[in-house]
């Protein structure tokens, strides 16, 4: 069905989310354990993505997330402009997945990672891995 509707579908190969304690004193705020756990479960570390769309409404969160998700220097991060260029709060995470999918569908990437967050200081994190056929 996907192939009939779209010449180059973005296949979802991993889709996971995790949450950490809400208590800021109970976690190391220089990391995001639930982002790391979601990425691991989603198989994000199997191969580096070409593109990553990170839901980072504040600049320092992008630095934290690059480390927490083990992205290294390879992937292009937020070619869409990210949440810093438009943050309809409860849609911004889905927007990341949409933009990541568009990168695959347009042939701009073979593998993409999308991320969404909720709660104070990156408490809850979701990772979606998308791939071309």
């Amino acid at each position: 069905m996907a192939g009939e509707l779209c010449p180059r579908p973005a296949w979802i190969t991993g889709f996971e989310h995790r949450i950490d304690s809400a208590s800021l004193g109970a976690r190391d705020l220089t990391t995001a354990p639930s982002a790391t756990a979601a990425a691991l479960a989603a198989g994000a570390g199997d191969r580096a993505p070409d593109v990553a769309e990170l839901h980072a409404p504040f600049t320092h969160q992008e630095i934290l997330l690059r480390a927490a998700l083990g992205l290294g220097d390879g992937p292009r991060v937020n070619p869409s402009g990210g949440a810093l260029c438009g943050n309809p709060m409860f849609a911004a995470g889905l927007a990341r997945i949409g933009w990541a999918a568009r990168q695959i569908m347009s042939g701009g990437a073979d593998r993409a990672l999308a991320h969404a967050t909720s709660g104070p200081a990156l408490q809850q994190n979701l990772v979606c891995v998308l791939e071309a056929g």
């Binding site: 304690s21 809400a22 109970a26 639930s34 909720s118 408490q123």
Partner: protein, 389 residues
Amino acid sequence: MSKQPAAVLGVGQTRHRSRRTDVSIAGLCREAVDRALADAGLTPADVDAVVVGKAPDLFEGVMMPELYLAEALGAAGKPLLRVHTAGSVGGATGLVATSLVQAGRHRRVLAVAFEKQSESNAMWALSITPPFGMPLLAGAGGYFAPHIRAYIRRSGAPAHIGAMVAVKDRRNGSLNPYAHLQQPDITLESVRNSPMLWDPVRYDETCPSSDGACAVVIGDREAARDAQAGGRPVAWIRATAMRTEPTMFSGKDHVNPRAGADAAAALWRQAGITDPFEQIDVAEIYVPFSWFEPMWLENLGFAAEGQGWRLIEAGETEIGGRLPVNPSGGVLSSNPIGASGLLRFAEAALQVMGKAGAHQVPGAQTALGHAYGGGSQYFSMWVVAATPG
């Protein structure tokens, strides 16, 4: 795509009260969670994911409470999902948790739902005037009373039917140690002498405002077999259904909403049930105002349109009748709003597990759990049974 079998492994609920000042919202939820895990013989480490539901955040004024509750629910480091479908949310929470197991995503999922009405004012939270919409007037009772009057006019039901439901549910509630209202001595006369709130709904025909929580552990076939091997009964989830329609649209039938009827039809089809009145042994139906029992009996297909009240008048919905409805005492005896739907689902499970105590319907094999919410807008239901089918 075939679904994996799923079953209820354990059930927990709080002692519902007007004011649980001894616990916070987190403590209230944890009380239900601990009881559900103990009932299933499990620990938090056995749970793969948590689904939480409650009525609108406006009630307690705690925005996105799922974030603050992560640790209390034992969800830190795990997937935590919030469900939001107004008063039906407890049912919807159970169904989302079930779907995560049926889809093969997780082996064991914990569903939790709560409301702490003493920290809120649900009646006035429901009385705001939404933009471009009809005002809901004074709370849920003011909204639903005209629909009840329409039901009475259409069906010709005698005026005492509502009071009969109230007497039955409150007496059933007195058999349930967790129920908020304990009124073993209630009578038809006392109900009919109680103050009129929203004509024809009297004070004693109205749900209370409760603090309470409910938790249910749902597991896959292997988890269910493990529980059974340990001597713990499970409730197999035979069918689930959820349907939605707008609160207001021209042609909406508030007495017999299409979404509820469609959900019921899909539910019975999935469960292989052709005559629900004969094939369901006990039903836990979301009845916040007494007259909704006959209305939902018809909407669910237990009785023909306009005939539901006759089952009540004949005593068929009492424990010992042909279709006991709300042996737990129902929403009329305890109403922690967000939890009320999951309580219906959980009480249905307890019946087929044979663990309902003094309000057990003898020999119950197949049970319905039902919830609705919004302005008769969201409908959630499941059929549970003692055997996997």
